[in-house]
């Protein structure tokens, strides 16, 4: 029997992954407000190729790869990239006032990390986010970034290193005393 076109299996894909891909793109685009457009384009593109996807394909990793690709092309226009970086850097420098008084330290640190991440170079930002936030394996990250798994690991390491250094001046980070 032929497939019934009124029952579109792609609806399940959207329902399962849109929220996560969107969240990924918010970080990947340095919060430049492009996540709405890019998440939409990710799924539109995925829809066109979905039918030719092998049945055993890892749909989630495939969606992340499409999103990352779109993101890279989007930032290839150098002007936009610099704009986004500048915006992220500006966000990072005005940290004090933007944090509500008395808020939990953990959430301050989270916000701080997000700002540092936003200012990272594209590959480090993406590799870090895919690994640490979305928990993709290095093979999948390598496929997204079109590099080797080793390079993907190195990008994540560089990102962690910069985040670690970036937290140095937070007086809450007497971390060695914590369990």
């Amino acid at each position: 029997m032929g497939r019934d076109m009124t029952e579109d299996p792609f609806e399940t894909v959207v329902a399962a992954h849109h929220t996560e891909i969107h969240r990924y793109l918010v970080r990947a685009t340095s919060r430049s407000g492009d996540a709405d457009d890019l998440s939409q384009e990710t799924f539109v593109r995925a829809y066109k190729f979905y039918r030719s996807l092998p049945p055993d394909a890892n749909v989630r990793a495939w969606l992340f790869a499409i999103a990352t690709n779109l993101c890279r092309n989007h930032y290839r226009a150098e002007g936009r990239r610099r704009q986004a970086m500048a915006a992220a850097a500006a966000g990072a420098s005005e940290r004090g006032p933007s944090w509500p008084e008395g808020e939990a330290i953990a959430s301050q640190a989270s916000a701080r990390i997000d700002m540092i991440v936003a200012a990272l170079p594209f590959k480090q930002r993406v590799a870090f986010t895919l690994r640490k936030v979305h928990e993709l394996d290095y093979e999948a990250i390598a496929a997204s970034l079109q590099c080797s798994a080793e390079s993907a690991r190195a990008h994540v390491f560089q990102a962690l290193r910069k985040i670690r250094r970036g937290l140095d001046d937070l007086d809450v980070v007497h971390m060695e005393r914590q369990p």
């Binding site: 918010v26 709405d36 539109v44 953990a106 640490k132 985040i163």
Partner: protein
């Protein structure tokens, strides 16, 4: 951790890997050995461990600017739009030669006899562009129903139709009137023109049917010339028209490309009875006012009863 110290610098990647729980056995041993003697790196490892915990919080923490609701709604409407434009098609063998079947989510949008695959594909590409995707599985069920129909296993194609490629409102009306012609029944181009209330537009009707995007399902083969000539079909495929009509029990072929009106049952206008062709003045009535049936069964299948004057049930036509 001493940045001047080479070991401290080199061990940092392993330190990070250990904190993340991704280090192999030998790297783990190396880190353990080093932090046993280096207070700075011991503290650094602890920091990376805390950092891993903070990073894990990123997975759960709500994020400003990360509300996907609006984007999702826009995506759904865009996908619905793409989906409605999308055409799936396949090329198949059939008793009438190779055919192309195309459909959308609304229904079957094209049936086309194929001389050249390339020409058929490029015709579809001209109409649908990138929206046409070859996908046999999506039209397989439609194809099976068509084969059943063409091999007389069924007399009905109950397909929903997508008339996106009907060029004008006029053509739609012509196609809709033609679609009303029952299985095994014929009328003339002038007959269709009368039925849509445009009795003078006989040529335009013929033209509209010439560009019928869904032949067989919209049975333009059941529409013939006023004199009984089959006239044309799908360019120069008049043989296919004969085949389709013969399948439906319409007598054709004794004289090439003509139906034998004297061998067909007759319904006048929208009478509820059917007659033999010699009943009253029917034999002199223009074909446009009639519907002809090759077989009584097909007339009765649409609810017509035998005329009480000429009694086609008692005096059937000899086959």
């Amino acid at each position: 951790m001493n940045p001047e110290n080479r070991t401290c610098r080199e061990i940092e990647p392993d330190l990070v890997a250990v904190a993340a729980g991704e280090a192999g056995a030998s790297a783990t041993r190396g880190v353990e050995r080093h932090v046993g003697v280096c207070r700075g790196c011991r503290a650094e490892l602890a920091r990376y461990r805390v950092l891993e915990g903070m990073v894990a919080d990123l997975r759960r923490a709500p994020m400003a600017g990360a509300d996907p609701t609006l984007a999702r709604a826009e995506l759904e409407s865009k996908l619905a739009d793409i989906r409605s434009r999308l055409i799936s098609y396949g090329l198949f063998p059939s008793p009438l030669g190779k055919i192309l079947i195309a459909r959308s989510e609304l229904g079957v949008s094209m049936v086309r006899y194929i001389d050249s695959e390339r020409a058929a594909r490029s015709h579809l590409a001209r109409l649908a562009g990138d929206d046409a995707v070859e996908d046999k599985a999506a039209v397989e069920a439609t194809y099976r129903e068509l084969v059943d129909y063409l091999t007389a296993r069924s007399t009905r194609l109950g397909w929903p139709l997508d008339l996106r490629w009907a060029g004008s409102d006029f053509q739609r009306r012509v196609l809709a009137a033609t679609a009303q012609l029952p299985y095994g029944a014929i009328t003339s181009y002038a007959g269709i023109a009368r039925r849509i209330g445009e009795p003078a537009s006989v040529r335009a009707v013929a033209q509209a049917l010439r560009h019928n995007p869904i032949p067989i399902a919209i049975p333009c083969h059941r529409v013939i010339g006023s004199s009984g000539d089959l006239t044309g079909y799908a360019g120069s495929k008049i043989g296919l028209k004969e085949q389709l009509l013969s399948l439906e029990g319409v007598p054709v072929g004794l004289r090439a490309h003509r139906i034998e009106r004297g061998n067909m049952y007759v319904r006048f206008e929208s009478e509820t009875e059917y007659c033999v062709p010699t009943c009253g003045s029917l034999s002199k009535t223009p074909l446009a006012e009639l519907t002809l049936f090759g077989l009584r069964g097909h007339a009765e299948a649409v609810g017509l009863t035998p005329c009480t004057a000429c009694r086609p049930d008692l005096h059937p036509l000899s086959a």
